[in-house]
């Protein structure tokens, strides 16, 4: 069994008004050094496979077909073996 930890982030070319609003809020708390907040999604997924490569392929396919929209998002998968 593998645990896929997936980060879905907006592509750099896409404006992230939500990140901007959060950045302003943080600045208003006095943390003026905080720059360029980008919001994303974190997804955990268990994959019942004993083969790391196969699990990676499944996670990748899930990202491409559903979890991320390639028009506006990038994704990153890290795999962890679990019992």
């Amino acid at each position: 069994m593998y645990l896929a930890k997936i980060n879905v982030t907006l592509r750099p070319s896409i404006l992230d008004p939500q990140g901007k609003a959060v950045q302003h809020a943080i600045a208003s708390l006095g943390m003026e050094d905080v720059r360029d907040i980008r919001m994303g999604k974190y997804i955990e997924m268990k994959i019942s496979s004993d083969d790391a490569e196969a699990a990676g392929r499944i996670a990748d396919e899930a990202c491409r077909k559903l979890l991320a929209n390639p028009v506006m998002e990038n994704f990153e998968v890290t795999l962890e073996e679990i019992r």
Partner: protein
């Protein structure tokens, strides 16, 4: 203005109902009760389009907008049928959430992201009819300004530069946000959409997505009826298509 009927010709419309659709009844009412068309609901788990002449993907929050607007709806069983129907040249209209679903399904290019101002917008806007050579705008005048309601949080049209250039080149942009006089000003663009895009068609011209709601501006009892021009254009197109098919047999 009173919406006119299309000389007695009745076409068959299917309004797809996803869990969370909330403009399905608006579309049903506008097409069935106001424009006197034959309209039926199609459940998202159905695997048949019931022989309809056109499919409407209505507005709403299908699957609670989980993951992304339209992302989960587009893997519903009925969407397989909608994609084949569109591939065969069938008329498909996506309104608001329906537009998002069409983008997620790959039937239209690009994507709809969070409104630039972050807030949900529910008000009337003006859109300019960019050309009338489409199945959805033939009953409008070139450059005509339509007053239509919007109600969305994610209607900010985005596509990469190449896709956008293609949309411009092929005249696929049929509605742009404008002011009441038809000028494309920054202030008239409610959500930050690239090139002021409010509605597009696919390359073949049979699939249309738009963020404003024509079905909510069709019944004269609601006073604004510009939306009827879009729905009536579509009906006329379907009627002509039938006549053409008959004359070639």
């Amino acid at each position: 203005m009173k919406p006119r009927r299309t000389n007695g010709s009745v076409k068959k419309f299917g309004v797809v109902v996803f869990p969370g659709s909330n403009c399905d009844h608006d579309a049903y009412h506008a097409l069935g009760k106001v424009l006197r068309q034959d309209v039926r609901f199609l459940w998202h788990k159905d695997s048949s389009l019931d022989g309809v002449d056109a499919v409407i993907l209505p507005g709403g929050f299908s699957y609670g907008d989980y993951l992304r607007g339209g992302a989960i709806a587009r893997v519903s069983p009925i969407m397989k049928e909608v994609v084949s129907f569109a591939d065969a040249g069938g008329i498909v209209i996506g309104i608001c959430n329906g537009f998002q679903i069409l983008c997620e399904a790959g039937l239209l290019p690009g994507s709809l992201i969070r409104n630039a101002g972050l807030t949900f917008l529910c008000r009337f806007v003006h859109v300019r009819v960019e050309h009338t050579r489409s199945a959805f705008t033939s009953g409008c005048r070139e450059g005509e300004v339509l007053k239509l309601p919007i109600a969305h949080g994610e209607g900010n049209y985005f596509a990469d530069a190449e896709t956008l250039a293609g949309l411009e080149r092929n005249n696929q942009i049929i509605f742009r946000y404008c002011d009441a006089g038809g000028s494309l000003t920054g202030e008239a663009n409610p959500n930050g959409s690239l090139n002021g895009i409010a509605g597009i068609v696919n390359e073949r011209g049979n699939v249309m997505g738009m963020m404003p709601h024509p079905e909510r501006a069709t019944d004269p009892v609601l006073r604004e009826t510009d939306g009827a021009k879009i729905l009536l254009s579509t009906i006329s197109h379907l009627v002509e298509k039938t006549q053409l098919t008959h004359s070639t047999i």
